[in-house]
């Protein structure tokens, strides 16, 4: 079997954390976009960015379905793929992929076989490690990857300093309040949920 590895960009990592930090008492979810490159012996997925979708009614499907459609249109216009799904729950210690999350991830997998699902680990957000738990598809089910983000695991951050940097942007600059998701956009169409340039970390490229 060909090994697939995943690399999470700084921009994607900070957006995931910002989304969870902006709505701490609500579940949030969104999609990961990026691209696949492969050689004969290995495949690697670069998760270059994230598009935050919902924080209201995350268990209901119509707005999710429209948001997902729009994310696909946007990714295509940038010559990128939708490569995964992420979510965070409102419970600090609930670290499983919700049933609805599994369904959406499986749906994305129909167009991108190497689809990844990430759950934000509320217990590790304040540490300097990656606060993400990777899930992979095993048939119809989604399972927690045994190795998680660690050295020599298939999952890594592009910049090891992203977690500490994200934390300081949240604590010192409240940059997470500037992030907007599709639900925010439906309330105010001036919210740029697809790119979220307003909360890009200017000190970082990528």
């Amino acid at each position: 079997m060909v090994q697939v590895s995943y690399k999470i960009s700084h921009s994607a990592y900070t957006k995931l954390l910002f989304h969870a930090a902006k709505y701490p008492h609500q579940p949030v979810c969104g999609v990961l976009i990026g691209s696949l490159s492969s050689t004969s012996s290995s495949k690697s997925v670069a998760v270059t960015d994230a598009i935050p979708l919902l924080h209201h009614w995350t268990n209901l499907s119509p707005i999710m379905s429209i948001g997902l459609d729009l994310a696909y249109v946007y990714a295509k216009s940038r010559a990128l793929d939708v490569v995964g799904f992420y979510q965070a729950t409102e419970q600090l210690n609930d670290l499983s992929l919700s049933p609805v999350g599994g369904i959406i991830a499986s749906q994305i997998r129909q167009t991108f076989t190497e689809t990844l699902a990430l759950v934000i680990d509320g217990t590790r957000v304040a540490s300097s490690e990656a606060a993400l738990i990777p899930f992979f598809a095993d048939g119809d089910r989604w399972k927690k990857h045994p190795s998680g983000f660690s050295p020599y695991s298939p999952f890594e951050l592009q910049y090891a300093t992203s977690p500490a940097r994200a934390l300081s942007l949240i604590r010192e600059q409240s940059l997470h309040l500037k992030l907007g998701d599709f639900d925010d956009h439906l309330e105010r169409v001036s919210v740029d949920w697809l790119q979220n340039d307003q909360c890009r970390d200017v000190a970082f490229k990528g």
Binding site: H25, W57, N59, L60, S61, P62, I63, S65, I66, D69, L70, V73, Y74, S77, Q91, D94, S98, P99, V100, H185, L186, E187, R188, V189, S190, V191, D192, W193, L194
Partner: protein, 317 residues
């Protein structure tokens, strides 16, 4: 930041019951620092309750500890308890404080004591259900909430919560039943109808979802009058128009499955569906029209993506 505006903001958060906890703590600390409690008069009590809740919510259990005559949460609570002895409201606040640090068993035992003393303490009952839910005991939470709603049928918040728990377990038909109670109790509230529309869609009852979405736009969107530019849909209205577009697309493109309806709702005829398709496209585009941006707000963003999506989903393509 000045004191008057901080106090105004705090009062407005209370009136709207906003869960803007981080802002409340920030404003609250300022009020404590600049005025102290004595100058607040009767507002003091509502303020203390608000600050205590917000501080617990943000995990700042030592809020204002560093201020000389400030109040830590415990002091807030003691002051309230001294002013209102045996107040169920203060008792529940004390329980919420316990939820932040104690085990769910301890907190449930505490709420049970409150309920034994006064079984009509609905706030304590709801907190108990909330603790059951967050500790993962969904089954008991649903049982308790159903019993609560048998006793207090008119509690809309309770019906919405029960519906939301059912949705989280993918039991959309049961969720829809809860929402229908909320809609009977508050028929003028378009948000409940919007939630019912989205729940019906999730339950794969597309004709019923379309009916609810249309009800929402009928209630919220201003009908065009001749000679004026049409209004720009926003907020729940825009959300509902997106929903109309989605339902119409499903009904027009797929043959039999989409028009199946557990609630026996008849979908509109193909001719009407096509008209609705045109109308929803027009209304969504109106929301993104560059000239329609409101004062103090930036221009609509992401229009190209929306236009492409509308083209892809158009029934004629």
């Amino acid at each position: 930041m000045d004191l008057t505006s901080a106090l105004q903001r705090l009062a407005s958060y209370r009136a709207k019951q906003s869960r803007a906890s981080a802002d409340i703590v920030k404003d609250g600390e300022l009020v404590l620092r600049k005025a102290g409690l004595t100058k607040l008069g009767d507002e003091e009590w509502a303020f203390l309750e608000q600050l205590a809740l917000a501080a617990i919510d943000t995990g700042k259990l030592d809020v204002a500890d560093d201020i000389t005559d400030g109040y830590a949460i415990q002091a807030c609570l003691e002051r309230l308890a001294a002013k209102f002895p045996e107040s169920p409201r203060v008792d529940v606040l004390q329980g919420i404080r316990m939820e932040a640090t104690e085990s769910s068993e301890t907190v449930i035992r505490y709420y049970n004591t409150l309920l034994e003393a006064d079984e009509s303490n609905i706030a304590a009952w709801k907190r108990k259900i909330s603790v059951l839910k967050s500790s993962g005991d969904i089954k008991t939470a649903v049982q308790e909430l159903s019993t609560l709603l048998d006793t207090f049928y008119t509690d809309v918040e309770g019906w919405l919560e029960l519906g939301s728990i059912y949705s989280s377990c993918n039991q959309y038909t049961s969720a829809l039943q809860c929402l229908s109670h909320a809609m009977i109790l508050a028929p003028q509230n378009a948000f409940y109808i919007l939630e019912a529309a989205e729940t019906a869609y999730s339950a794969a009852d597309i004709p019923l979802a379309l009916k609810f979405y249309l009800r929402v736009v009928e209630m919220l969107d201003e009908p065009p009058t001749s000679g004026t530019t049409p209004s720009r849909p926003e907020g729940p209205t825009l959300r509902a128009w997106y929903g109309v577009k989605l339902c119409v697309r499903d009904l027009l493109t797929s043959t039999s499955t989409a028009s199946q309806s557990e609630s026996q709702t008849t979908p509109p005829s193909e001719k009407h569906l096509k008209l609705l398709d045109e109308l929803s496209t027009e209304r969504i585009l109106a929301a993104y029209s560059p000239s329609s941006s409101k004062a103090g707000e930036g221009p609509p963003l992401g229009r190209e993506t929306v236009v492409k999506w509308l083209e892809n989903t158009s029934s004629t393509s």
